[in-house]
């Protein structure tokens, strides 16, 4: 018997909803630099929200409601109701909001929530934003000071992602997060240890190449440059060396998220009202065609794989889009393996062949099958809740042809974004530029 997975039938939206504006802060270690040390939740979220409104051409008073996402508000911000604490910062005082928290998947549910709110007909224009200080915690009883979060403290709080009744006690689910997907891929596709290791390394190399072209990314020095500096002629030799130690059974240090601080936001509105909201803005709205979602609690074997299969099935079924129509793919890859596994399950890369595309560099921003053109979690950075909307920010810029140095050769028309996190939610959606 296989793992039990109950399935959901998703129905089309009651009305079409489009993305008209996006905003994003740089992903950064705020505490490390005098010019950013002391930034607050209201300032970070507020910046992303106002940039999204400016981009959309809307005034804060045009926005009916906002969603707020943060993965760890209690520990990192000392807030129980983080949406309310920032309410006065971006011109929407008095308007209602709600906070949601799905750990690393928060920024993908940010789209699900906003689109549902408009598609239902209740609101016409909605803001959805996320903020996270992944690298620091609020100093209690001080108005703005923060202190670096130690790895020990971070791991103490990430333990809260797992079920207390059984999962922590059984010890399996919480420890499989690092390597389960790699084990599954290697076994089911028949890779050698060396092929699997090189595939993980090439994802990191490609991610970093993408980030090197992105001014908002946190790590922009390419692995080729780092390898050369350390005296290696060949980048893959460096990646296989003790400079890049094994942290998991398969996972190396380069394949781990760079946890950091950041915020991102999006404005969505009813598609038939874009002219009213966008005023004199000339960029094309981007329609959210559909969202698929599933979850596997961490004691469920191959949680990421099983939940991704179900979520992807839903989103293709409800949108009618075919895998070959996807022009660019984003995967939340705080464990680098996600990047390969998600893209192959989604059919963006062919079954059993995805690892070759990666090792040949075809998934870099300038290849024919780009993934995570902003650098993903290992190079753009991971401000936990905010990462999903940062990926959307990047996707929208690619689709408008506004991605600068990191612009894909062919401007993508259709994109899929797959969120993952929170032990474990999967939320995946397809967006398309309107004609």
């Amino acid at each position: 018997m296989d793992v039990v997975m109950n399935k959901t039938t998703v129905h089309p939206y009651s009305r079409s909803v489009s993305i008209i504006g996006v905003g994003c802060t740089p992903f950064m270690y705020t505490v490390d630099h005098p010019e950013t040390n002391g930034l607050t939740e209201g300032e970070m979220y507020g910046y992303a929200a106002l940039k999204a409104m400016e981009d959309a051409g809307v005034n804060p008073q045009d926005v009916d409601f906002y969603f707020h996402g943060e993965a760890s508000p209690l520990n990192n911000s000392n807030y129980l109701t983080p949406n309310v604490q920032i309410a006065n910062w971006f011109g929407m005082k008095g308007k209602a909001s709600i906070h949601h928290s799905e750990a690393c998947c928060t920024g993908y549910y940010a789209i699900e929530e906003a689109v549902n709110a408009v598609a239902s007909g209740k609101y016409n224009c909605v803001l959805s934003g996320c903020v996270e200080f992944g690298d620091s915690v609020a100093v209690p009883d001080h108005p703005y000071k923060r202190s670096k979060i130690s790895m020990e403290e971070f791991l103490r709080t990430t333990a809260w992602l797992y079920d207390r009744s059984y999962t922590r006690s059984l010890m399996g689910g919480l420890n499989l997060i690092y390597d389960d997907a790699a084990e599954w891929y290697k076994r089911t596709r028949g890779l050698t240890d060396q092929e699997m290791d090189d595939t993980l390394n090439w994802m990191c190399i490609n991610n970093r190449k993408n980030a090197s072209k992105n001014p908002l990314a946190i790590a922009r020095t390419t692995y080729e440059e780092i390898a050369k500096e350390k005296g290696f002629d060949n980048v893959i030799d460096y990646m296989r060396s003790p400079y890049n130690p094994r942290m998991g059974d398969f996972l190396r240090a380069s394949g781990l998220e760079l946890k950091c601080d950041g915020a991102a936001a999006v404005i969505v509105c009813a598609t038939d009202m874009v002219d009213k909201y966008m005023g004199n803005k000339t960029h094309k709205p981007i329609e959210v065609l559909g969202v698929g979602a599933a979850a596997c609690e961490a004691t469920t074997p191959h949680f990421e794989v099983n939940a991704t299969i179900e979520a992807v099935r839903q989103v293709y079924e409800v949108t009618g889009v075919k895998p070959e129509e996807i022009d660019v793919f984003y995967a939340n890859d705080f464990i680098i393996t996600s990047h390969l596994v998600a893209a192959e399950i989604a059919g963006y890369l062919p079954y059993g062949e995805g690892w070759k595309y990666i090792c040949e560099g075809r998934t870099a921003y300038d290849g024919d099958k780009p993934i995570n053109t902003n650098g993903g979690r290992t190079s753009f950075g991971h401000a936990h809740a905010a990462s999903g909307l940062a990926d959307l920010y990047e996707a929208v810029h690619q689709m408008r042809g506004e991605a600068g140095e990191g612009q894909m050769k062919k401007i993508p028309k259709t994109a899929m974004l797959r969120g993952y996190g929170g032990a474990q939610n999967i939320c995946t959606y397809i967006i398309r530029t309107e004609e």
């Binding site: 059984y166 390597d179 389960d180 998991g248 191959h302």
Partner: protein, 142 residues
């Protein structure tokens, strides 16, 4: 009218108390026979909430193997000896992520280069700090 089978029941506490008594228990669906392990209120296969306690046989199969590493090792796990993490299917049908003792890197290689997965395992009650839990052991003939 018959009494509702839905009870505000301390399933978790009972599961751990049963381990103290040397019994590994799950909940069986009275409607479709699926065994939920670890035990919960309702059947995830058919949705019925009419469930009964059942002792599991302890026999199982291991379908995947991941070795502990710096990120997935804790000082208190040292007492487990050589072990891996993996997908365990118990004889009654449920799958769960669990710890399987008796698997070293060398043993994993032998299994993968030999007859392959799955391999037979059996459940054991294991003392952690303040409570007992369930781990699995590789069968001796594997």
């Amino acid at each position: 009218m018959s009494e509702s089978p839905i009870k505000l029941e301390k399933v978790v506490e009972t599961f751990y108390e049963n381990l103290e008594k040397g019994k590994i228990t799950g909940k069986r669906c009275k409607k479709c026979g699926t065994v939920e392990f670890p035990p919960v209120y309702a059947c995830n296969s058919c949705g019925s909430w009419d469930m009964e306690w059942v002792e599991i046989s302890g026999k199982g199969k291991l379908h995947s193997m991941v070795m502990p590493a710096p990120l997935s090792m804790k000082p208190e796990y040292k007492d487990l000896g050589k072990f891996c993490y993996g997908d365990v299917e118990i004889e009654e049908g449920a799958h769960l992520n669990a710890v399987v003792r008796g698997i070293s890197k060398k043993k994993r290689r032998e299994i993968l280069e030999g007859k392959g997965l799955p391999v037979n395992v059996h459940a054991s009650i294991y003392q952690r700090d303040g409570y007992k839990t369930v781990v699995f052991d590789l069968d001796e003939d594997q």
